[in-house]
Amino acid sequence: MSLLSIKNIHTIAEDDHNKKILKGLDLEINPGEIHVIMGPNGSGKSTLANTIFSSPRYIKTEGNIYFEGEDITEESTDKIAKKGIFMSFQTPEEIPGVTLANYLKSVKTSIDGKKPSIYEFIPQVENTMKELDMKEEYIKREFNVGFSGGEKKKNEILQMLLINPKLAILDETDSGLDVDAIKTVVKGINMYKNDNNAVLIITHSTKILKGLNVDKVHILVDGKIVKTGDYSLALEIDENGYKDYIK
C-alpha cells in the first residue's frame, strides 16, 4: 500500500475562485522513498504541499488524497499532522515570547497527545541541535525571533527529527541557504530517513539532492506532473531548464 496517494487533485485559490492552480495531479509515494518535485515558478509546487495539509488558502474542487489508505481529502490541518505528515515551511513563522524549548514541548505534546518526559525530551533536543550545528543557547531564545533564514530552516529540520513523521514534505528548504547550511539539511534528512518513512522534496535546484538517495523526480508544470523519472531527470533540468516541458 502506498503511503501517500494523490488522485486527480484539482485546487483553486480561496481568495480567487477563478484561479485554478492544481489541474488533475496524481502522485504515489511508498514507504522508504525520496521523491522530488521540480518545476518553474508558479507551477503549483507549494500549493501541492499546502493542499495535502488542507491549507485554508486553497479549495479542493476535485480528486482525493489518501494517507496509508485513509481518505484525508477533507481532514483538518492538525489532524493530518497527527496522522504523521510534516511540512517544512519556505518561510517559517516566528512565535514571540515562546522559547524554542517551550515551543518544541508544545508541538511534541500536540503530536503525541501527551506531554513528553522533560528528562528525556530536552537532552534529545539538545543532541539533535548539536547534530544540526545549532547553537546551544538557541533553546532559550524566542522561537525563530531574530533567527537568520538558515537558522529558521535548521529549526524546521529539527522539528522534523523530533516529531519523526511518516512523511516529511520539505518545501523549498534549500532556498537561500549557503553551502554549509545545505550540507546540514542533507545530514538531517539522512538522519531521519529509514525504510518505513518517506520524503517529498520541493525544490528549484539540485544542490540539496546530491547527498540523498533520490528515488523519483517529477516535473510539475501548470498544475500537472508532466514527467517522472529518476535522479538523472533532475540533472537534465539542471542543464537545460524547463523549456522542453513548457508548452
Binding site: I95, G97, S106
Partner: protein, 469 residues
C-alpha cells in the same frame, strides 16, 4: 516523571474554583446609601468621630458629583440595589483554623493559605466587607512592621493612619472615590519602618462573595526610608446575574530610598463594575513598581497614579489586560514627574477577543522642574478577531525641554499564517491561539510572582476557551 507543581496547577484547575459560592451565614447586610446606613456602619466599627465626618462628607459629595463624561457607560449602576455592607464575621481571626469553615473552604479552593506557608511574610483575607484574617510572622512584628486590617489600624494606630489617610487620594477626587470613602470597610494597613527589608512578600486577598454586593476596601501602605516591600493583592468573585460593585482605594507612600512592588491580579466575575482608585507618592530615589493583571469584570476603570516627588524617584508600570465577550476594560496610568532626574518605564499589553474592548489611557505630565527625566512608554495590543476592539489613548504633556521621551504603541491581529503553521504541528486552532497569546503575555507574566504567573496563564487559557463567567 513526577509532575511539577505548575503542571498540577494547570491540570486540576478550572473556572469552577472561582465560582465557588459560600453558604456562610451573613450577620448583617445593608442595601443602598443613606446617612443612616453610614452612621450604622461607623458605629458598628466603633470609629472615632473624625472618621465618621469623612464618611458623611464623602456621602454628600457622592450625590453632588456626576459620572465621568468619558469612558465606558456606567449610568445603569443603581446604588440602592447594591449591598453596600455585608458583614459575614464578627471578629477578625489570627489563625487560619479559627476562620469559619464555609469561608475557609472558598479560600482553600482558591489556594490562598497554601501559598502563604513558604512564600509569604504575611497574609490577609477579606470576605465581602469583613477582614476575616490577618497574619504576620513573629520576627517582623518584633522589628516594628505593621500589617493589619484597615479597621484595626484605625483602632490601634489612629495617629499614624490619620497622618496618611486621604492624603494620596482625596475624597473629592471623583464620584466613586467619594462613594468609597462613604462606605469603606476592610482593606489592609502596612507600615514598614526605616531600614527594613522584607525578603518575602505580603499578600492580601479580596473575595467578594455576596450576590449584588459592593466591596469598598481601603489599602494604605507606607514604606519608610531605605526600606523594601513587595505587596501582592488578589481579587476574585463568583459569577452572578446581579451587578456587583468594587470601589476600592489604594494609597501608597514610598519614602526616600525606599522600594515598593505592588502586584495585583484582578479576576472579578463578569457582573462586576470595577471602579478602583490607586495612587502612590514617591520621594527622593524611591521606586514604585506596579504590576497589574486585569482579567475579569464587566467594566473596569482603573488608572493608577504615580507622583514622582523627589529627585531620582522612579516608577515602573507593567500591565496586562484581557477583555472577552461583553467586557470593557478601560485601564491605564497617570504619572507626574515633579522633580529632576525622575524615571518612568511603562510596558502594557492588552488582548481582546469576541467583541471585548480594551482601552489603555496613558496620561503623563512632566513638570517644568523635572529636567533630565526619562520616560519610556510601550503599549502593545493583540486582537484575536475582527469584532474586538483595542485603543490606546496617550496624553503626554511635557513642560520641560531636557527630557528623554519615547512612546511606542502597536496594535496587531493574530495572524492566520501563524495559526496555520502551528496547526501543521498538530495544534488545534484554540491551542495555536493560546500558545501565541501566552507568548505575547510572557514578558508580563515573568514580572509576576510565580504562583500568580501560573494563575495568569491559567486565566488566559480559560479566557480563550470562553468558559469564564
Amino acid at each position: 516523571m513526577a509532575k511539577t507543581n505548575v503542571d498540577n496547577y494547570l491540570d486540576n484547575e478550572t473556572r469552577n474554583i472561582y465560582n465557588t459560592k459560600s453558604n456562610n451565614e451573613v450577620l448583617d447586610i445593608k442595601y443602598g446609601l443613606t446617612e443612616d446606613i453610614i452612621r450604622q456602619i461607623s458605629k458598628e466599627k466603633n470609629e472615632p468621630d473624625w472618621v465618621l465626618d469623612i464618611r458623611l462628607k464623602a456621602l454628600k459629595l457622592f450625590y453632588e458629583l456626576s459620572d465621568p463624561d468619558w469612558g465606558p457607560d456606567i449610568s445603569y449602576l443603581d446604588i440602592n440595589k447594591i449591598a453596600t455592607y455585608v458583614k459575614s464575621i464578627d471578629k477578625e481571626k489570627r489563625t487560619w483554623e479559627e476562620v469559619p469553615d464555609e469561608i475557609k473552604d472558598v479560600f482553600d479552593k482558591l489556594g490562598i493559605p497554601e501559598s502563604e506557608k513558604e512564600a509569604l511574610a504575611g497574609s490577609g483575607a477579606q470576605f465581602d466587607s469583613s477582614t476575616v484574617y490577618h497574619n504576620l510572622t513573629e520576627d517582623l512584628k518584633k522589628s516594628g512592621v505593621i500589617y493589619t486590617s484597615f479597621d484595626e489600624a484605625l483602632r490601634e494606630y489612629p495617629e499614624l493612619v490619620k497622618e496618611y489617610f486621604t492624603k494620596a487620594v482625596p475624597i473629592m477626587d471623583h464620584k466613586y472615590i467619594a462613594l468609597h470613602y462613604a462606605l469603606f470597610s476592610g482593606g489592609s494597613f502596612v507600615y514598614i519602618p526605616k531600614d527594613t527589608e522584607l525578603d518575602r512578600p505580603l499578600q492580601s486577598y479580596f473575595r467578594l462573595n455576596a450576590k449584588g454586593a459592593g466591596q469598598f476596601e481601603h489599602t494604605l501602605i507606607i514604606v519608610d526610608e531605605n526600606s523594601k516591600l513587595q505587596f501582592i493583592e488578589g481579587c476574585s468573585a463568583p459569577g452572578y446575574n446581579e451587578l456587583n460593585l468594587h470601589a476600592g482605594c489604594v494609597e501608597l507612600f514610598v519614602k526616600k530610598n525606599a522600594f515598593l512592588r505592588f502586584s495585583t491580579i484582578e479576576n472579578w466575575s463578569k457582573n462586576m463594575l470595577n471602579l478602583n482608585t490607586k495612587k502612590c507618592f514617591v520621594e527622593e530615589n524611591g521606586k514604585i513598581e506596579w504590576i497589574m493583571g486585569s482579567f475579569g469584570s464587566k467594566v473596569s476603570m482603573l488608572y493608577p497614579l504615580s507622583v514622582l516627588n523627589g529627585p531620582y524617584a522612579s516608577c515602573e508600570f507593567t500591565n496586562i489586560s484581557f477583555a472577552g465577550k461583553g467586557q470593557n476594560l478601560d485601564t491605564g496610568l497617570k504619572i507626574i514627574h515633579n522633580a529632576p532626574h525622575t524615571t518612568s518605564v511603562v510596558d502594557s499589553k492588552s488582548i481582546s477577543k469576541d467583541g471585548g474592548i480594551c482601552t489603555f489611557r496613558s496620561n503623563v505630565l512632566v513638570k517644568p522642574n523635572a529636567s533630565k527625566s526619562k520616560l519610556s512608554i510601550s503599549c502593545e495590543s493583540l486582537m484575536l478577531d475582527s469584532e474586538s476592539r483595542s485603543d490606546t489613548i496617550p496624553v503626554d504633556t511635557i513642560q520641560c525641554d531636557d527630557v528623554e521621551f519615547a512612546h511606542e504603541a502597536t496594535v496587531g491581529k493574530i495572524s492566520d499564517e501563524a495559526i496555520y503553521y502551528l496547526e501543521t504541528r498538530g495544534m488545534s486552532e484554540l491551542e495555536a491561539k493560546s500558545l501565541i497569546v501566552r507568548g505575547f503575555a510572557e514578558p508580563i507574566a515573568k514580572a509576576f510572582p510565580v504562583e500568580y504567573a501560573v494563575e495568569m496563564n491559567r486565566l488566559i487559557e480559560l479566557e480563550l476557551e470562553g468558559t469564564i463567567g
